[in-house]
Symmetry: C2
Subunit: 241 residues, 2 copies
């Protein structure tokens, strides 16, 4: 059966298949622990044939990473309908789906990139390739959020809030992966609340940000993520003495 | 004069001097752009003599990084006196001092570590050394915060809030360095407020975290960082309709 499949595949199809197989393996274990032999075996082809399509593990890793980055960026897109809190909440669900599917690979990547076999000449290029890919996904997330807010030229404080919140979301996902000690749905909602809270902190000192906050809260139903949060926060705040 | 200094220095003293000179150069420009020749010249010694003390630029970079990490971790220590918000605010001032002093080097390091000359065999070890150093500083920050909160066995949600806030502080500093478009004092205060806000979000859904929040707010004067924030947030919250 393997031979049958092999005969039929063209170059691009075979490359796509290998990338898919590699991405699955790189997602499930730290990329350092995945060998070309394993990838060959999972793809049902010989080791030399893998090298025919990819010069080495690094180039296959980069291709797999590129596919994962495109996949993640795609998950950020969300129709511009309904309250902003609910939209962000849906995207958070898809973000955690991605993190869940690619857990060990995501951790290895975000905790400083894959260790590369000592002396491998392309180590540096890989480090800059992975950094560029991570940055492109962050940029996609940033632009999506601005589009949903309807803001094309963000003031510096808004850029700071959005970009630093993206870092917060990454950190939250990484910490969650390390033991999964907090239920995922709670964190998906918490990150939506965090976004509102960080915006509110910035808004407390800046008229432009207060405007962004009003826009964020404008269509919120009282029982939506933000309305809910404000009620709970108000209840927690100490009474003036 | 240089010769006079050179004659008097012992091995350890010379190493310390070279680390100091290198740290200053690595802080002011991306480490990739700093050459051993420059370090030698700034230290007033010959290039071969630098190699006598350090086998290469990487080992000197690692030593400089270690010194910077120790320096940063030292700045987290703050007497256990007075309201928590004011203590955190003082530490934020010292954190931004550090970021300010080491700007370009800090950016290069946090944005994926220094690029290493292609083919240099110790590239991998350096990547794991820098990751380990960064992690040790994050751990020091984490432990300091828990000590100030008086909590030795943090629940998972508190660990998440503290560690993800540390990531937020790093991201905020990096974004600030890129153009310095927001006044530093504002960000020092904003991060204190962010800490309270993230704790409050988590507290809204968890009794244990509500307890941490109460502890955080217990000794706060009404005009302290947290009291001030709560007042402003309450004013921003939309009135129930």
């Amino acid at each position: 059966m393997t031979t049958g499949v092999r005969r039929r595949m063209g170059v691009e199809e075979r490359r796509r298949q290998l990338i898919g197989v590699a991405l699955e393996l790189f997602s499930q274990r730290s990329p350092d622990d995945v060998s070309i032999d394993e990838i060959a075996s999972a793809a049902g082809i010989s080791r030399p044939l893998v090298y025919h399509y990819f010069p080495g593990k690094l180039s296959l890793y980069e291709a797999a990473l590129k596919r994962a980055a495109d996949d993640l960026a795609d998950r950020f897109s969300e129709p511009h309908e309904g309250p902003l809190g609910a939209r962000l909440h849906k995207v958070m669900g898809r973000f955690f789906d991605f993190v869940d599917e690619h857990g060990p690979g995501f951790s290895a990547l975000m905790r400083g990139g894959p260790a590369v076999p000592a002396g491998e000449a392309s180590a540096v290029n890989t480090a800059s390739t992975t950094t560029a890919l991570i940055d492109s996904v962050r940029q996609a997330a940033y632009e999506q959020i601005l589009e949903h807010l309807g803001i094309s030229e963000p003031p510096a404080r808004l850029e700071l809030v959005v970009r630093s919140w993206i870092s917060l979301a990454e950190a939250t996902a990484l910490i969650w992966l390390d033991g999964r000690r907090i239920p995922r749905p709670e964190l998906e909602m918490q990150l939506v609340h965090d976004f509102a809270a960080l915006t509110a902190v910035s808004a407390a000192y800046d008229a432009e940000m207060a405007d962004v906050l009003r826009r964020l809260l404008a269509d919120e139903p009282a029982d939506g993520p933000f309305g809910d949060l404000i009620g709970r926060l108000t209840a927690l705040a100490p009474q003036p003495s």
